[in-house]
Symmetry: C2
Subunit: 213 residues, 2 copies
DNA sequence: CCGCATCCGCGTTGATACTG
DNA sequence: CAGTATCAACGCGGATGCGG
């Protein structure tokens, strides 16, 4: 009887039985942005050891949330979410947005990575508002950049400039967290000087549409 | 530097820093159904010790998610969610529904409590569809009953019969989990004999409206 | 170097006993 | 009823080692 379970016939308790252990949901979050190899997941989660990541990935695999796949361009395997895993990632959206709202009260930390903010962008993304939109938005956060590509009703977030952006937003971390969580509107951010938007004004309107501000 | 933190500037990581420890989210779930005293929360969470519950409640209080209040009818205090705590509980809805969908694959356990299913009902409840509806639905699950009262766009779940039900549904746990998670439609459940609905047909239609099947 | 297992020290948790 | 105190057992983080 190792592997503790709450043993309650409840949706939340069962979800936590499956993915409630330390690091597990952050692994899901990272894989939600795209398939990754073992060492890339590890690098994105400071403090997590190789043994534990190995355990977590196996649990996720056994529960049908993650699968191994052959890497595209190189040897080795990558881990990627299954359909069930994608649904889990989607279900984490509101919790992520809630956390981002609390986060916005706090100052930016010493160390951070742009990918950590990518997930909240996908969480506030409204699939139903994105039909027919085909844009690229660049977010400039200090010396790091995030490129958000909206196409075919889907969102992709990347640190690489795969496409010329239609809109460039310059802001700091707490402001992005506040906007992403709905705590602050884009208008407020611009008027208070906390954010600057440049580029196609129509693209700006479309961005506000799909991100629901 | 006790009290482990992920230390990532990410909505999900921050949410888990605040409420990601063992038992914490289940305490929030239980309080989401209404204010409770220490011993009632404890009784609803087998396996949780008094020390840990004490710790968790203090953490939730320090984070502004729970507050102590004077009990209505008796001496002593009750714990109840703050506005922030309510928002957290709402944000747990999709995760709860996801877990309920996975739960529906499994057989009903030996021991269970009706309140454990109450939360998934509130999670699938659509506030925006409930305007003008004033109903009571009874769910019969073996020898336990759940009474759902929909009024003024809000939902209340209770084990006590506070009101004459307009609709009585008889089904088993996995079926309720499957319906609650959207895995099974009410029509399917009825046609396959897994659920039986009796009472006002109009109330049945309204129930399906607010629970989104 | 990548993926993973094994071992160890320590913080967290679970269970019981005890107190206001 | 509402906790605190105590302690054993477990989970986690870090380091090391081993086979591709």
């Amino acid at each position: 009887m190792t592997r503790r379970s709450y043993g309650q016939y409840c949706g939340l308790a069962h979800a936590l039985d499956l993915v409630g252990e330390r690091w597990t949901l952050l692994v899901v979050r990272d894989l939600a942005l795209g398939p990754k190899r073992f060492s890339d997941v590890l690098a994105g989660l400071p403090g997590l050891g190789t043994s534990l990541l190995s355990d977590r990935l196996r649990q996720l695999e056994n529960n049908g949330l993650v699968e191994r796949a052959l890497a595209d361009r190189a040897v080795g395997v990558v881990y990627r979410l299954t359909e069930d895993g994608e649904q889990l990632a989607t279900a984490l959206g509101p919790l992520t947005v809630w956390g981002a709202a609390k986060l916005a009260d706090e100052p930016a930390p010493d160390e951070w990575r742009p990918e950590w903010l990518a997930f909240v962008l996908t969480s506030t993304f409204r699939h139903d508002q994105a039909a027919g939109i085909d844009d690229c938005y660049e977010f400039r956060l200090g010396d790091a950049n995030l490129f958000v590509i909206v196409a075919d009703g889907t969102i992709t977030v990347s640190e690489d400039k795969r496409r010329e952006p239609d809109l460039v937003a310059t802001l700091d971390l707490p402001t992005l967290a506040a906007i992403g969580s709905g705590n602050m509107s884009v208008h407020e951010a611009i008027n208070s000087g906390k954010a600057r938007f440049e580029g196609d004004p129509d693209a700006g309107a479309r961005a506000m549409q799909v991100f629901g501000s």
